[in-house]
């Protein structure tokens, strides 16, 4: 060990991970941020570009779709019932198709789950293990409720005639929201894994960072929904 100041104590927090090999050097953290957390932030940066591309694709595809409906392209008009197409053509947007009050409730549920997630992290880092279990369970349940809502929404839309292989709107809508839903589902699985650890008594204050990192993922998914809710559902 050299006398150059290295956050040795900090390294203890995350050394129970893959980078133990550098433990005796202490230089595992030139930035003062743990490897795992830094890596996860980088991953989220990459995810931003992924969802950026998906949202751009949605905007462009739906714009083209509406243009074709307004122009009366018979191939496009044949893909959904006439009354829906008439409404889209009349309003010049697909938003009349959405059930905004329902989706607002979904958004509220997802925002709520972000709050419970952050409270779970707070609880675990303060050693409040009962609170950890409660808040983690609440987060997983709220996430599951959101996903159930999405399944319901997809079912309704499908029955109304919006098919994945039908037209551009269907392809783009199901792909974008489906990608988001898949992310939420993966998040729920990670929360369940955390809960199992918590009930086995393995999730204690020293592992607060694990909770924080899964929380990062969860909040990121929430942030993406903030974007999708405004851009897809509210703005025509």
């Amino acid at each position: 060990m050299t006398d150059i100041g290295i956050p040795v104590e900090e390294s203890a927090a995350f050394v129970a991970h893959e980078q133990e090999l550098v433990h005796e050097t202490g230089h595992a953290s030139s930035l003062g941020l743990s490897n795992t957390k830094l890596a996860f932030w980088l991953f989220l940066g990459s995810e931003c570009l992924l969802f950026g591309a998906l949202i751009s694709t949605y905007l462009l595809s739906v714009g083209n779709f509406v243009g074709q409906v307004v122009a009366g392209n018979p191939r496009v008009l044949a893909t959904m019932p006439a009354e829906i197409m008439n409404e889209i053509a009349e309003k010049g947007s697909v938003n009349s198709f959405f059930d905004i009050p329902f989706t607002s409730a979904s958004s509220f549920i997802l925002l709520m789950s972000s709050l419970t997630m952050v409270l779970a992290h707070k609880a675990v880092s303060e050693g409040n293990y009962r609170g950890t279990k409660i808040w983690l369970s609440a987060t997983a349940l709220l996430g599951a409720t959101f996903i159930s809502g999405q399944v319901y929404e997809f079912t309704v839309f499908y029955r109304e005639g919006l098919h994945y292989d039908g037209n551009l709107f269907g392809s783009a809508f199901y792909t974008l929201t489906g990608f988001h839903g898949a992310h939420v589902t993966i998040g729920i699985l990670m929360l369940v894994a955390l809960l199992i650890m918590a009930f086995k008594g393995k999730l204690q204050a020293d592992r607060a960072e694990t909770v924080e990192i899964i929380g990062l993922y969860w909040h990121f998914v929430d942030v993406v929904w903030v974007l999708i809710f405004t851009v897809v559902y509210l703005i025509p």
Binding site: S30, G32, C48, G52, L60, G63, L115, L234
Partner: protein, 117 residues
């Protein structure tokens, strides 16, 4: 920025050792953030039903969306606090530079279609 500086900063703001929780928000503050987020969402939905059109409709919605984005990222994701740990203007700039870059790239793609310029 020397290692010594970083070590101190990291020590001061790192919260994973039970010796320093002051840096992260309190439970009450988290609830406050949540309430603000819900309020903004309610205003967004209400605004979309007001019958506005064009920029009057879109611009406030986008502004509220951006505020919500940074509230979640800054408070819930501790971005505000983690950037303090990094304590380097370089990284702060790189981070916001990357967000701007991503936004600008996709905005340019959409603009080139929408306006055919």
């Amino acid at each position: 920025m020397t290692h010594t500086d970083m070590a101190h900063t990291a020590h001061d703001t790192d919260t994973h050792h039970g010796h320093d929780h002051a840096a992260h928000p309190t439970e009450k503050q988290y609830w406050m953030v949540f309430v603000i987020l819900v309020l903004f969402t309610a205003v967004e939905v209400a605004w979309s039903f007001m019958g506005f059109e064009g920029a009057v409709l879109v611009v406030p919605l986008l502004v509220m969306m951006t505020i919500k984005f940074f509230l979640v990222a800054g408070a819930f994701m501790h971005l505000y606090f983690d950037l303090k740990i990094l304590n380097g203007r370089l990284f702060t700039w790189a981070f916001f530079g990357a967000i701007l870059l991503a936004g600008a790239v996709y905005a340019a793609v959409i603009a080139s279609f929408r306006f055919n310029i």
